[in-house]
Amino acid sequence: MITAAALAILAVVCGIGAWRFTHARWTYRAPHVAIVLWQALGVTWGLAGTGALLAYALEPYRQGVLHGLYSFICSAFDGGYDAPGPYDVPRILALITGLTALSVLVVVLLTAASQTLRARRRHRVLLALVSHDDPGVPGVRVLDHPGATAYCVPGLRSQVVVSAGTLKLLSPDELTAVLAHESAHVRERHDLVLLPFAALHRALPWSRLVRLIQSEVGLLVEMAADDAARRYCSPRRLATALLRFGTAGSVPAPQGTLGAAGTCDAVMARVQRLVTPLPDLPRRIRYAIVAFSVTLTSSAPLLWLLPFPH
């Protein structure tokens, strides 16, 4: 019972923590650290939430969640629920809910990953057919379109792509800044950071919290790339490039989807911290947050492994 309670509390704390964390603004001063904390919260929330249900359901086995699950599967194959203790309705319900939630999480993650990979492969193939090299921007694929866009197709061999509209819109310094920003995405594999959060959003599309979290992590990833880029270019040029993109009105939207809500705030927040940077979070605090994230991430798996106290 203690394990189930501990996992349930952990899940609730993660939920509340995530809610409060979406409003935190210190994250802008240390986006990399904040991303680590978001990942820790996500993993722990998933494992603790499902683990709490399973721990309660499998308590009669007195072996902990993981080993209890193994014993349950063995006995289910042998026929009959060979639990050493009494097996009642609430426990069976908890078992069904827990297993369903766990498999939904896993399946959604895998489906989202494979869909993304498929869409990316098609994008890459099309890109190879219709984009071209430009001597002005070596190593970058150019797309013949008047709209403004710059992005990277992540993968083992990531590609940075800009449109002809972008080359026209930006000054050479601004272009350098944008390309530095995109190479940071490539180097730090930000697509892998975003993938699980996008998958979670797909699993729970009605959840306002999950949507908020996804856009928050998206913004932090952009800020992390901004921070990496400013080491190689003028932050002011990066800021003007951002503003130019925001006002470019790139292409007519098919269903009026141009500019998701909050885009303006996100752009302004990034411009603000590029032009008048706040001091970095003190090293001591950054280390403390990373240490906390590591502890949090390891807590749920430990509770899964721990045999129930007698």
């Binding site: 379109h145 709209g147 866009t149 992005y151 990277c152 952009e222 925001g246 098919p254 500019g259 032009v275």
Partner: protein
């Protein structure tokens, strides 16, 4: 000898530039690389057909090839995906920034002119 991707691109460019379906022999004549073996051209045409970029119809003893979509249609598809406007199907690209609408654009424009004045 150019890479296969390069070859596919130049062959697609040739076919896009034609107003009517072409045969492999005609593609071979139009291609810049004169040393290319006719079988190579045929292989690439076959690959592009299998990938769905070309459609072919029988004409006598040869196949005639035409593009499944215009070049602009593919560029537009990539742009929509790049701007995250395809709805559900997403390649999860990391994009630099997105454009905003009407009144919000004015806020950004003002910020831009302030930055440029300094």
């Amino acid at each position: 000898m150019k890479g296969l991707g390069e070859l596919e691109r130049s062959i697609m460019d040739i076919i896009w530039a034609q107003s009517s379906p072409v045969t492999a022999r005609e593609v071979g004549r139009l291609i810049a690389d004169r040393d290319l073996a006719p079988t190579t051209v045929m292989t690439v045409l076959d690959r592009l057909t299998r990938k769905g970029f070309l459609m072919r119809t029988r004409s006598g003893r040869a196949w005639r090839y035409e593009p499944a979509e215009s070049r602009d249609a593919y560029v537009a598809e990539l742009m929509l995906e790049a701007l995250d406007m395809t709805g559900d199907r997403s390649a999860a690209l990391t994009r630099f920034a997105q454009a905003v609408s009407g009144s919000e654009a004015e806020i950004l424009l003002r910020a831009l002119s302030e930055l440029e004045d300094e």
